[in-house]
Amino acid sequence: MTTESGPGLTPRLFRLAQPLLRPFSWGDFVVLATLGVLLFLGVRLGLAVPEVLKASEISLAPGVLPYYAALSCGRMLAAYLLSLTFSLIYGTLAAKHQLAEKILLPLLDVLQSVPILSFLPVALLTFSAFLPLAVAVELAAIFLIFTSQAWNLTFAWYQSLRTIPRDLEEASTVFRFPAWLRFKHLELPFAAISLIWNSMMSWAGGWFFLMAAEMFSAGQRDFRLPGLGSYLQEAANQGSIESLVWGLGTMVCIIVLLDQLVWRPLLAWAEKFKLQMVESEHPATSWFYDALRGSLLLKALWQRLLFPLFAALDQMLLRCFGQPAERKVRETSRPWLRLALGGLGSLLLAVGLWEAGAFLWQVSFGQWAAILTGLGATLLRVTAAMVIALAWTVPLGVAIGTKPRLAALLQPLVQVVASIPATALFPVVLLLFLQFPGGLNVAAVFLMLLGTQWYLLFNIIAGASAIPRDLHYTSALLRQRLVDRWRTLILPAIFPYVITGGITASGGAWNASIVAEYVQFGGRSLSTTGLGAIIAQATAAGDYPLLWAATLCMILAVATINRLFWRRLFRLAEERYRLD
């Protein structure tokens, strides 16, 4: 049955005219195939859960990889759903209440620059206080991934709530949209594209930290969760190249599958949420989305089952959140509540500060000196990584961005390479670098580079491809020399993009220092001077005052660099070098 309706045999022209005569399209084939594969995998995996999953040791047999991959994906999904829920609530609060905004936004800014790995022992300790250890470890891992996924999503949601066009906002108010309708027809659709893009970024960030979240030590104890991340780490520890290749291959497969089956279709679907009133010239497309849309099976399923289900849900939500969402100006009508909340908040804050201060007191003078030295060393390393990244991404990015033929060739390749989380490559890099002089000191720079160069590259490609054709022609007509062309056209045009990429890259490099400057490898731990190493060592040794102090230092350093350096350049870029 399915062979008859293969793509080659069904002329698509007739499908629309005579849907009943040709009940199956190639879309149905895809849907059936997908269902079949999913079922098969589910049954196979379900029937033959190997014992190794329950063991505390990580198995390196390739046969165990599908299970590990499934477990890792499950963790990612759980963390992502948590992030999404968190973002919707937090962003809404910040956008709709002036008072909340004053506290929540700066807090988010701080949270964003906190080195995520420092959260882990804290999270683990908190969870294990009231949960069995196995559950606590799992939750701590999910929480860690959450902290790498949530912030940009929250910002995206907040941003789009704040930038809803005034006329649409007013139309919803004048037509007295209840809260649910407002959310469903105004806020969510307006934010959709930004949320999808940020979700993709969040998943990329999640993979990065998954590696660290599945296997870590806090204090004297080692914790390991079966998963792709721990598989790769274990493979590196044992120095098994074969297992590393298997693990990386699985990783790439999953990322490509997610891209093709989830993100591309979502982007193609989200085309309709574009605000512009003209048809876009290069709409996002996806073969899988086209297949799903062309599938009659799915259509029937939608009409018979899903649509009535959604309609009922819609009705229910409308009843629950059916009050017209009028902007209340009467926030001040309950001053005692605000006073009480404010008082409680300040009290908690004061207690917290006191405790934190007392904690810092336990850090010895020598340790503070080490932290400062480490700060300097890591700063140098971050700078080196940024310089190296710029040195190769600017020429390549401009080449890809300005030459469509080269772009067609390299873009997919670059995307796949960039999608491999740098942490997954760490073991491979270490195997290579540790044999050379310089050792971890040099390797750490390279590791930071791995994690951050892509932000720069993609931004530069975007910037270079945004240079209007006519400016290129003008430059050619003026017979500018190559140097002049770079100076007057290309560098100014990509400058804002370099800055945007640079901000993310520099923050990322600081964060990566924690995993880069201290590694456990082949059964031993290696470290080099640096703030990241101090944080990682403090985590491993369970020295919480030191961990706290070093983390604080890193937050301050990143925040200061952002304020004093990047923000200024950013403003300069926005004002002077904008092409529009």
Partner: protein, 437 residues
């Protein structure tokens, strides 16, 4: 239809905005009365607070002071009996034409079964059947606005507010849509009790409304309010029509005042600082050249708008600038070129700049800025410093626009220079020294 029941009453409504410790009055002491059966046009130059007033009437915004009564009751929150048709259509781009109308019904709590048929009926009435499943981006501007009208009708408003609904459309679809709206309104096919049309298009107001309320700016206030009592359908070539359009132009263009009133005072001094109209100097030169070619160097302003195919708003701004610079005078709805204006129109580019510069030196705002620059260190000032000083007279946005205009004019006259990257205003060498007083 009981046509004399009061629908809407505004009593001494004012809107004041605060910025940086100073207040700016957007609209001041507006009294407005609307009865059932009335089609009222609210007409005025841009910046006179028409749209602010519309937001206050629909309850989107609460006025700083004054009372808004709807059917005798004070208005609390959004007025459930009023709706708006927006200049920008405000359609949800992700919903189809049908869904855009349905969602308004859904918000009103119309049961799911009735929604689709009601929405289809409304779309049918505005002539959009066949386009139910189209997305707004697939439609022309005129058709989008029809969806906007259908959506507004869906909630069966008593008071239909139109916020410049035709100004984003091309001439022909605007005209046909006006006709269709009038047909619905006059035929009594809609449950709407009164229509309030905000516009800056004088002919549109005269064509459609039973009453025209003319507003002026700085601060926004009602200048005059009169009835249009000849029957529909009105012809644009009709003598009564032309006469009325001429009259409205006369009111809006005003009379050229004696010079000291026309020029106003410098920022920071007692008295009003005259806001410079935001026009391009090329357009001004074009207008003067056009007048120079007319017999007697004069023209009827409303006729001028037709000849030049300009919106009344843009034309009035240009005329304002010509008056301010002494290139033309306005009286009784006519504009006449002064001899200086004639010289300017016939002069070469170089001499034009010189004439322009001598005129600018008479404007208090320029005198003030030149004196500041003379006194300043190295004869230069930062943009922000000047803007802050201007904010003593204008609200922030307006101060910024005023400074932009001042710099544009000053650059044209070669009195000022401005460096965009350092945001510094310079005195052109020699510009401040010479010049007759």
């Amino acid at each position: 239809m009981n046509s004399h029941a009061s629908l809407l009453d505004l009593r001494r409504v004012s809107q004041v905005y605060w910025s940086g410790g100073r207040s700016f009055t957007a609209i001041k002491d507006i009294d407005l009365h609307l009865e059932e059966g009335e089609f009222v046009a609210l007409l005025g130059p841009s910046g006179c607070g028409k749209s602010t007033l519309l937001r206050i009437i629909t309850g989107l915004q609460k006025p700083t002071s004054g009372r808004v009564l709807y059917r005798g009751e004070p208005l609390e929150g959004v007025n459930p009996h009023a709706t708006i048709v927006f200049q920008t259509f405000a359609l949800f781009p992700w919903l189809t034409v049908l869904e855009n109308v349905e969602v308004a019904l859904k918000a009103r709590g119309v049961p799911a079964k009735l929604r689709a048929s009601r929405a289809l009926d409304l779309l049918d009435r505005v002539g959009l059947d066949g386009f139910e499943t189209a997305y707004p981006r697939e439609l022309s501007g005129g058709m989008r606005q029809k969806v906007g009208f259908a959506r507004a009708m869906a909630v069966e408003p008593e008071l239909l507010c139109l916020d410049e609904p035709f100004s984003a459309l091309d001439v022909l679809s605007a005209e046909s849509l006006r006709g269709e709206l009038l047909e619905l309104w006059i035929g009594g096919n809609i449950p709407t009790r009164a229509i309030l049309l905000v516009t800056h298009n004088i002919e549109e107001a005269v064509l459609m409304a039973d009453r025209i309320v003319v507003m002026d700016k700085d601060p926004g206030r009602v200048m005059t309010d009169f009835r249009v009592d000849f029957p529909h359908p009105r012809q644009r070539k009709d003598a009564r029509f032309l006469d009325l359009v001429d009259r409205v132009y006369m009111i809006l263009a005003g009379h050229t005042q004696p010079e000291h009133l026309e020029l106003g005072t410098a920022p920071g001094e007692p008295g009003r600082t005259r806001a410079l109209p935001h026009i391009s100097i090329d357009d001004l030169a074009g207008l003067l050249e056009h007048l120079d070619a007319m017999p007697g160097n004069r023209a009827d302003i409303y006729a001028l708008a037709r000849e030049l195919r300009m919106s009344s708003d843009d034309l009035l701004q240009l005329i304002d600038a010509a008056e301010l610079l002494g290139f033309a005078t306005v009286a009784h709805g006519d504009i006449t070129l002064t001899s200086l204006g004639q010289t300017f129109a016939e002069a070469s580019i170089r001499s034009r700049k010189e004439i322009f510069a001598t005129r600018l030196r008479r404007l208090p705002i320029f005198k003030w800025l030149m004196a500041m620059l003379q006194a300043a260190d190295r004869k230069q000032l930062e943009w922000d410093v000047v803007q802050k000083a201007l904010e003593l007279e204008f609200h922030e946005e307006e101060a910024e626009r005023q400074l932009e205009t001042v710099i544009n004019w000053g650059r044209y006259a070669e009195m000022l220079a401005y460096d965009d990257s350092s945001e510094i205003i310079f005195l052109e060498p020699g510009a401040g020294v010479s010049g007759p007083h």
